[in-house]
Assembly symmetry: C2
Homo-oligomer: 377 residues x 2
């Protein structure tokens, strides 16, 4: 009775974990939520001076003033673009839906890192994508691998990746850009964590190094300001922006104008940068606390890198074990964690976990890591 794609709607495991994680008394390392105290709340002044026209239907592309601000920032990152290439979306998730509609037929081959952002996998899969793996190292995909691959689209999270936290070097970015140019693959660079960088600015986006390949670059205000605003943006190669805009129109006409007016104001008056600057020390402190707790309690039962940006630790457990069972035991003990297998485009055997450090308090981080350590064999 349903459309065929409904058979590819993946299980609600992640929804179930996140629902369990939100119960009172549960320490959650499972989601990717900003800390409550780090959320940007617009001032009463901003709320009381909203433009009067925002209650009417708006432009599909987004508010012109917001698109202009996004383009200015993108150019500072080395992405040659104009405001006409910017499309405002309801958070990154909608960007993935729109790019999937643009590029993914049943059986279309999509190159991704492995592991990669699970909600992107869910959407690509819904539209019928088949995932193409590639040789990779700590930084991500190896440029020389592209010659052997047959993929229409490459989805990359090269900066403080979710789930691994890895960040491609500038040299790797340039080499990959050359390879994408050579093999005419469409590049979709998802970059929500860029501003959450603990050791100085992250390397410039890959798409800024492209010369021939078509591309879509995606950013979000969920991690820097507030997820409840539901705002992100796509910036696309001129050959792609018209189709993406029509797909956005078909999806929901346009994004929320109230949120767009707030974020535009925040970009113009400099309070985005101020807010991020105020949040970074807290996140750095939490990251350091989780690293110290892991060293104290988990020790040699897992290996991990200290993330230089983003919101997650990625643990590779030393001993093989059923991480689904581990997740269930942890939940029973009041701790929510995310099995790494959820992030695999194709099943792997490694026992891995993703731990979020931004949402919990320092005390919860120590207590949660203790619980986790007690459950590790």
């Amino acid at each position: 009775m349903f459309a065929a794609r409904i058979n590819r709607l993946t299980s609600s495991l992640v929804r179930d974990i996140l629902a369990a994680a939100s119960k009172p008394g549960v320490i959650s390392f499972a989601g990717g939520l900003p800390a409550s105290e780090a959320l940007f709340r617009p001032s009463q002044e901003v709320l009381n001076q909203l433009p009067d026209d925002i209650w009417q239907y708006g432009q599909t592309e987004g508010e012109p003033v917001l698109r202009e601000q996004v383009a200015i920032r993108a150019r500072q990152l080395g992405i040659a673009c104009t405001a006409e290439q910017v499309l405002i979306v309801n958070g990154s998730q909608q960007g993935i839906d729109l790019v999937s509609k643009l590029m993914v037929d049943e059986g279309s081959r999509v190159l991704t890192e492995s592991p990669t952002y699970l909600a992107a996998l869910q959407v690509f899969r819904l539209f019928g994508a088949e995932f193409v793996g590639a040789p990779q190292d700590e930084e991500g995909i190896l440029p020389e691998a592209l010659a052997q691959l047959d993929a229409r689209l490459a989805y990359l999270v090269p900066t403080f990746q979710n789930p691994t936290g890895h960040c491609y070097s500038t040299a790797r970015r340039k080499a990959l850009a050359r390879a994408f140019d050579l093999h005419s693959m469409v590049v979709f660079e998802d970059d929500p964590y860029r501003d959450l960088s603990f050791d100085g600015p992250a390397p410039a986006p890959i798409v800024g190094h492209l010369e021939k390949a078509l591309w879509v670059y995606q950013g979000s205000f969920s991690k820097t300001l507030a997820p409840g605003l539901r705002l992100g943006y796509l910036i696309a190669h001129p050959e792609l922006i018209q189709a993406l805009t029509r797909l956005k129109q078909a999806a929901d006409l346009h994004s929320n104008r109230l949120s767009q007016a707030i974020v535009a104001q925040v970009l113009i008056d400099g309070s985005l940068d101020q807010h991020v600057a105020s949040v970074l020390p807290r996140y750095r402190q939490k990251r350091d606390a989780m690293h110290a707790s892991l060293q104290r309690h988990v020790g040699s039962k897992a290996r991990w890198d200290v993330p230089v940006g983003g919101l997650f630790f990625w643990l590779e457990l030393t001993e093989a074990q059923d991480t689904m069972l581990l997740m269930e035991k942890a939940l029973a003990a009041g701790l929510a964690i995310m099995p790494g297998a959820a992030f695999d485009p194709v099943p792997k055997t490694a026992a891995t976990l993703r731990l979020n450090f931004s949402h919990s308090s320092l005390a919860q981080i120590e207590q949660g890591v203790r619980v986790l350590a007690s459950l590790l064999t």
Copy 2:
């Protein structure tokens, strides 16, 4: 290079007309915009007392308090449902995207009225639907026709339809419900204009009369409050709500929480009903003005019914003519109108126009109808 569906992304004709219609000095009968003075603007009190948790990620289903309010109102309309069957979406357009994802494969047969809401046709077409016509009269589809039809989904706008303004009687609604039950067709009832009723309450929704058939009912706050809020809702049969919720999660995680908090407050404190009551007399006055102008200037060059609800007049021109050319001539003369052909699921030959009466001032209505009349052969 693109996905096959991109070949089905229909032309930007409507976007072009609406863009031209928004130019200064153009009188627009083309869109479906509420009057600027009829838009609901939340009070500073509401904006300054927003719940503190709305800046974090929210539930995919929507804010519990808003879902509860929607369910209460739906039950008053005869739809037996609980808040668990309510899914908050970014306006009706997103509801159509989600139902299409749920039901429409390439080649899936979808029954619609003819003409019907053009943006619904665009989305169904994008997902590969083939449209099934049915014998219909002024009220819409004839129940006895369903036996002959092979369709997976029926999309209906039975109350003050866009574009015709037609409204199904209670008897027709009940008879159609029995036919849908008999033939096990999934019913998607789109009901954004219900509250804009000029002659007392509209007949209860069709889905409330169903006993066996699966159904989705859709409402919107764009026409009663403000389109910029981008909020509507689906209410679905228990067998459909889980898949729709997962599709919403894949589409954009959840709807804007700021707008949800505002609309929940407006429903709770009764200001939605107050606002609609204040808007109706103005819209009735504009409808009467357009009818009078049409009688004065267009006279026998067209026939039309006076709409008892909604936002549109539907004109059937007495003489055959190219309405695309008419539209272009009108634009050159400072008037935007919508050729009726845009609303046809399959091409027809009738010369028809849709005229919106809500957005223009009384003076603009008179002037615009004069321009139109001067162009009619």
